[in-house]
C-alpha cells in the first residue's frame, strides 16, 4: 500500500505542477538570498582589504619620516606626531583589529549589519570609547536583510503551509475520502504517508536547490562540509516541524479554509509574536543601564583623575619600580601623567562595563531558557552562529579587541616611562591583531530542540486518533 500511495501521490503532485512550482520558487528565493548574502560578504572582505592598505600606506610614510628623523633631518610635521615618540606611534598609527567574515557568513546577516568589523584601538584611548556599532541606515535595520535565514525561517513555513493545509480536507470536500476510508489502510497511516511524501519531496528539492545555488555562488562547501550538513539538518528539522503542525491542524481543525487560517495564525504566533514578546520581556526584566549615565560617570571619574594627575603618577611609579629605574633622565611629560591616570580610570570604570555585559547575559539566559517555545528562534540563533554573525561571535570579537588594546598599550608603556625613542627596528615588533574565530560548535542541541518540538506536535496530531479511535467516521463525515 505504501508503494502505491507513494507512486500515485508523486504523480498527482507532478500533474498538479506542485513540484515544478516548488522547484522554481525555491531556486529563485535561495538564489536571490545567497547572491545577496555573498555580495555583502565580498564587500566586507573588500572593506577590510582597503582599510589594511590604507594602514600600510600610512606605515610607509611613518617609516620614511622616522628614517629622516633618525638621520637628523628637519621634518615638517607637528611635533607631537613625529613617530620617534612611542606615544605618537601608539596614537596616530594604530593597527587594524578586523573581523573577517566566515565562509558561511552569507547564511545569516545576524548582527553583522549593526556591528563594525574593524576597530583601531589607540594607546591613549579608553576601552569605552571604542565604538563597535556600524553605520547602517536604520530603515535597513528595521526591514532586515533578505538572506538564507529569512527564506528558511519566514518563507519556508509559508510554502509548506500552502503545500499541505488541505491534504485531508480537500479529499473530504471532494468526496474521495469516503472511498479511501473503504480501503484497507487506516486514515491515520494514510495521512501520515501523504504528508511524509510531501516532506520527502520538499527535502529533496531543498537539498538539491541549496547545493546548486551554493555552488553557483562560489560557496566553499567542501571545506565547510560539517557546517553545511549541520545547516541542512537544522533546516530540514524546521521543515519537519511545520509539516507536523500541518498534520495536527489537518486532523484537529476541519475545513480547508479554517486549516489555512489556523496555520497562518500559528505562523504569526511562532515567527512574530513569541519572539517579540520574549524580546520585550527580556528588556523589561533586565533593562540595560543607560549608556548616557555611563558616559557621565566616566567623565566624572576622568575629571577627578585629571586633578590628581601628579599624585597618581607618583603612586603608579611606586607600584611599577621597573619604570623608574631604567631611565636616568627622569623626564616627565604630559603622557606620563596621562597614561598613569588612564590606568586608574580604567580600573574604576570596570564595574560599570561589567554591568552591561551582565544584563545582556541575563537577557540571553532568559531567552535560552524559553527559546524552545518557538523553533523559529532556535533556528535563527543556530544559523547566526553557523554564519559567525551571532551575538557570541561579536562578544568574542569585542573581548579580543579590548585585550589587544591592552597589549598595544602595554607595548608602549615601558618605552614611555623609560623615555626610550621609537626606532625603525622597533616597527617589526609592533603587536598585530588576528581574530580568533570561536571554534565551530555543532548545532546538535538546537537540532534536538527542533526535532523534539516536531515530535510533540506530531503526538498532538496523533492524539486525535487515540481519543476518537473508535470513530474514524468522524473524520470522514465532519
Amino acid at each position: 500500500m505504501f508503494r502505491y500511495n507513494f507512486k500515485y501521490e508523486s504523480i498527482a503532485l507532478l500533474r498538479s505542477k506542485w513540484i515544478q512550482i516548488l522547484i522554481v520558487i525555491l531556486l529563485l528565493l535561495f538564489g536571490f538570498a545567497t547572491y545577496n548574502g555573498q555580495q555583502k560578504t565580498f564587500k566586507r572582505q573588500a572593506d577590510i582589504i582597503e582599510a589594511n592598505a590604507e594602514i600600510a600606506d600610512a606605515d610607509r610614510d611613518m617609516l620614511k619620516l622616522l628614517d629622516s628623523v633618525e638621520q637628523g633631518f628637519q621634518v615638517s610635521a607637528s611635533s607631537w606626531t613625529i613617530p620617534n615618540a612611542p606615544m605618537a606611534v601608539g596614537n596616530y598609527h594604530p593597527r587594524l583589529a578586523s573581523m573577517p567574515p566566515s565562509d558561511l557568513s552569507f547564511l545569516a546577516t545576524g548582527q553583522s549589519d549593526m556591528f563594525t568589523h574593524f576597530v583601531k584601538p589607540t594607546a591613549s584611548g579608553d576601552d569605552l570609547a571604542l565604538n563597535f556599532t556600524e553605520m547602517t541606515s536604520p530603515v535597513q535595520l528595521l526591514f532586515g536583510s533578505f538572506d538564507i535565514a529569512f527564506v528558511v525561517i519566514f518563507l519556508l513555513p509559508l510554502l509548506i503551509i500552502a503545500f499541505s493545509y488541505d491534504v485531508l480536507s480537500s479529499e473530504r470536500e471532494s468526496g474521495s475520502l469516503r472511498l479511501l476510508a473503504a480501503q484497507p489502510i487506516s486514515l491515520y497511516k494514510w495521512l501520515f504517508q501523504k504528508l511524509g511524501l510531501r516532506f520527502f519531496w520538499v527535502a529533496v528539492i531543498m537539498t538539491l536547490s541549496l547545493t546548486l545555488v551554493f555552488l553557483l555562488n562560489q560557496v566553499a562547501i567542501g571545506s565547510n562540509f560539517a557546517a553545511f550538513m549541520g545547516f541542512l539538518a537544522i533546516t530540514l528539522a524546521y521543515a519537519l516541524f511545520w509539516f507536523a503542525l500541518a498534520f495536527a491542524v489537518n486532523l484537529w481543525v476541519g475545513s480547508s479554509g479554517k486549516n489555512a487560517v489556523a496555520l497562518l495564525g500559528l505562523w504569526v504566533v511562532f515567527v512574530l509574536l513569541i519572539p517579540a514578546v520574549l524580546n520585550q520581556l527580556g528588556g523589561t526584566l533586565y533593562p540595560m543601564p543607560s549608556r548616557g549615565l555611563m558616559i557621565n560617570d566616566m567623565r566624572a571619574i576622568k575629571a577627578e583623575a585629571t586633578q590628581r594627575q601628579d599624585e597618581i603618577l607618583d603612586n603608579y611609579l611606586r607600584d611599577h619600580p621597573e619604570y623608574a629605574v631604567n631611565d636616568t633622565t627622569q623626564k616627565r611629560s604630559f603622557w606620563h601623567r596621562y597614561m598613569a591616570s588612564q590606568q586608574l580610570v580604567k580600573k574604576e570604570l570596570e564595574p560599570i562595563l561589567i554591568r552591561y555585559e551582565r544584563q545582556l547575559e541575563k537577557q540571553q539566559l532568559l531567552l535560552n531558557r524559553f527559546t524552545w517555545v518557538s523553533p523559529a528562534i532556535v533556528v535563527q540563533g543556530s544559523l547566526n552562529q553557523m554564519a559567525g554573525n551571532g551575538n557570541k561571535s561579536y562578544k568574542s570579537y569585542r573581548e579580543q579587541v579590548i585585550a589587544f588594546a591592552q597589549e598595544w598599550r602595554n607595548h608602549f608603556l615601558p618605552m614611555l616611562y623609560n623615555n626610550q625613542e621609537f626606532r625603525s627596528e622597533n616597527y617589526a615588533q609592533l603587536p598585530k591583531f588576528t581574530f580568533q574565530r570561536p571554534t565551530y560548535q555543532s548545532q546538535s542541541s538546537a537540532l534536538f530542540v527542533v526535532l523534539c518540538s516536531a515530535l510533540i506536535v506530531l503526538g498532538i496530531g496523533a492524539l486525535r486518533f487515540r481519543i476518537y479511535s473508535k470513530k474514524e467516521q468522524s473524520l470522514v463525515n465532519q
Binding site: 530603515v139 528595521l142 487560517v261 497562518l264
Partner: protein, 483 residues
C-alpha cells in the same frame, strides 16, 4: 439602490458573523494582544522619557559645574543632545529601536547618534516588535480576510444568492452592505486600540504640545480607518470574483503574503543592493582625507593655515600673532572647525542621500501597495520615521557647531594673545560663569507639516485605493454572476 436594503445586508452580515464562536475567540485574543502592546508601548515611552529628562539635567549640571577652564578643554568636555519622543511613539515604534536617542557632542568630532536598543540586544529584536501598529498592519488584515472571504462566494455556493437577486435585491446593495458590515467588524477590532491611545493622550504624561499630538492622532487614525476600509472592499471583491470559497481565501492570503512579507522586504533589499552604503571606516577616512587636504588646523606648519596667518597679520598690520588683538590659537581653531564641519556635512549629506535613495525604492511601492502606504503614514505621524531621525541629527550637529565656535570665541577674546596655541596650561583659563551662559540643547520636534509631506504619498495612495476599490465594486455589480 435603496439605503434601507444596504442597512439590511449589513445587519444580516453582522448577525451571521456573531453566530459563530470564532469571532468571539478572535476578538478576545486580539484585545489581549492590544492590551499587551499598549502596556508595553506606554511603559517604553515613559521609561525613555524619564531617562532623557534625568540625563539631560545631569549632563547640564556637570557642564555648569566645571571650574574655570581653558575653553578648548570645555569644548572637548562636551555635552549631550537628547531626543524628545512623540507621545504617539507608544503606538508605533518605527525605527526607534535602531536609532538611539542621544548623541555626545564635542569639538571637531561628529559622534553618530548612538545608545540604541539594538546595539544591546539579543537577536530576537530582528523578528520585529509587538506594537499596536504591528497588530493593525499585519494581524488585523489576516483576521479581516478570514472573516470576509466567504461572504459572497458562499452565498453563491449555497444558492441563496439567486434567491436574493430574484427577490429584487440589487448587486450594488449586496456588495456595499456586506462591505460595510465587514467594516463595522473591522472597527470593532480597531476600537480598543483607539481607546488605549486616546486614554494615553488624555491621562498619560505627555506634556509636550498636546494640540500637535491630537492632530497627529486624528490624521493617523483616519489613515488606518481608510486602510481598513480598503481591506474590507478587497475581501468582498475577491469573494465576489472567486470561483469557490477556497479560492477566495487562497487569493486573499496570497495578497497578504505578497504585499506584507515579500514586497517590502524584497524592495528594501533591492534598494540596498542598488545603492551600497559605505562602511563607517571608509566614511571616516574619506572625511579625514578631505580635511587634511584642505588644511590641518592642529599642524603649526600647515601651508593653508600659514597663508591664512600671513593674511591676518597683513590685515591687522602686525608682524607676529602675539601682537594681534585676539588669541590666534582660538582663531585658527575657529577656522578649522568651520572647514571640518562643512566637509563633514558634505559627506554626511551624501550618505543620507544614499539612504534616502535606498528607502525610496520601497517607499515608492506604496503607490501600488496599501500596506506599505499605511506603514509610511504611521511612522510619519508617530514621529518614528527616518525624517524624524535625520531632523534630530541635524539639530544636534548645529548645536555642536555653535558650542565649539562659542568656545573658540571665548578663547579668542579672553585667553592671552601671547599664548599662540594649545589648550593646555592651568594659567590660561576662562571664568566658569561663561558655561552657564551657553544655552542648553532643546530638541525641537518635527512640525506636523513636515510629517505631512512625508506621508503625502501614502495618503494619496490610500485615497486612490479607496476610489479604486469603490469603482471595482461598481463594476462588479454589473458583471458579477449569481451562479
Amino acid at each position: 439602490m435603496k439605503k434601507a436594503n444596504i442597512g439590511l445586508f449589513m445587519k444580516h452580515f453582522l448577525k451571521n458573523a456573531f453566530k459563530t464562536k470564532v469571532i468571539y475567540v478572535m476578538l478576545t485574543v486580539f484585545i489581549l494582544l492590544t492590551a499587551y502592546a499598549a502596556v508595553s508601548g506606554i511603559h517604553n515611552y515613559s521609561e525613555q522619557n524619564s531617562i532623557r529628562l534625568e540625563h539631560q539635567e545631569k549632563a547640564r549640571q556637570s557642564w555648569e559645574a566645571n571650574p574655570d577652564k581653558h575653553p578648548h578643554r570645555m569644548a572637548h568636555f562636551g555635552t549631550f543632545a537628547f531626543r524628545m519622543k512623540q507621545p504617539l511613539s507608544m503606538f508605533d515604534y518605527g525605527i526607534e529601536s535602531f536609532t538611539g536617542n542621544a548623541v555626545f557632542l564635542e569639538a571637531h568630532r561628529q559622534n553618530s547618534v548612538n545608545f540604541s536598543d539594538a546595539g544591546f540586544s539579543t537577536g530576537t529584536l530582528r523578528f520585529g516588535e509587538l506594537s499596536m501598529a504591528m497588530l493593525l498592519q499585519l494581524v488585523l488584515p489576516l483576521i479581516l480576510f478570514f472573516l470576509g472571504f466567504s461572504v459572497v462566494v458562499s452565498e453563491r455556493e449555497n444558492g441563496t444568492l439567486k434567491i436574493l437577486l430574484s427577490q429584487g435585491a440589487d448587486w450594488k446593495e449586496i456588495l456595499l452592505g456586506k462591505s460595510l458590515g465587514l467594516f463595522v467588524l473591522a472597527l470593532l477590532f480597531f476600537a480598543p486600540i483607539v481607546l488605549f491611545t486616546t486614554g494615553f493622550l488624555f491621562f498619560g504624561e505627555t506634556s509636550i504640545n498636546p494640540a500637535d499630538s491630537w492632530q497627529r492622532f486624528l490624521l493617523l487614525f483616519l489613515g488606518y480607518a481608510l486602510f481598513l476600509l480598503i481591506l474590507c472592499f478587497m475581501s468582498i471583491v475577491v469573494s465576489t470574483t472567486a470561483r469557490s470559497s477556497k479560492n477566495a481565501l487562497l487569493t486573499l492570503l496570497g495578497i497578504w503574503l505578497f504585499m506584507v512579507v515579500l514586497v517590502p522586504k524584497t524592495s528594501q533589499a533591492i534598494g540596498n543592493a542598488m545603492y551600497p552604503t559605505p562602511s563607517k571606516l571608509s566614511f571616516q577616512s574619506a572625511v579625514e582625507r578631505d580635511v587634511i587636504k584642505k588644511g590641518d588646523s592642529h599642524n603649526p606648519d600647515d601651508p593653508y593655515f600659514n597663508r591664512l596667518k600671513d593674511s591676518v597679520l597683513a590685515v591687522h598690520g602686525v608682524d607676529s600673532v602675539t601682537e594681534l588683538p585676539f588669541n590666534y590659537g582660538g582663531f585658527v581653531m575657529r577656522e578649522g572647525e568651520k572647514t571640518s564641519a562643512n566637509l563633514y556635512k558634505k559627506h554626511h549629506d551624501s550618505l543620507l542621500h544614499i539612504y534616502e535613495k535606498q528607502n525610496n525604492v520601497s517607499r515608492f511601492t506604496a503607490v501600488l501597495n496599501p500596506f506599505v502606504a499605511i506603514k509610511t503614514i504611521s511612522m510619519a505621524f508617530t514621529g518614528t520615521d527616518f525624517k524624524g531621525y535625520v531632523d534630530f541629527q541635524e539639530q544636534a550637529e548645529t548645536y555642536r557647531y555653535q558650542l565649539a565656535q562659542e568656545m573658540n570665541e571665548l578663547q579668542m577674546e579672553y585667553i592671552s594673545t601671547k599664548k599662540i596655541s594649545g589648550s593646555e596650561g592651568k594659567k590660561h583659563v576662562v571664568g566658569h560663569e561663561h558655561w552657564e551662559e551657553f544655552p542648553d540643547f532643546e530638541h525641537q520636534m518635527q512640525p506636523l507639516q513636515s510629517s505631512l509631506n512625508v506621508a503625502s504619498l501614502g495618503i494619496f495612495s490610500l485615497l486612490g485605493w479607496v476610489l479604486l476599490s469603490f469603482l471595482g465594486l461598481r463594476y462588479l455589480s454589473k458583471k458579477a454572476k449569481a451562479i
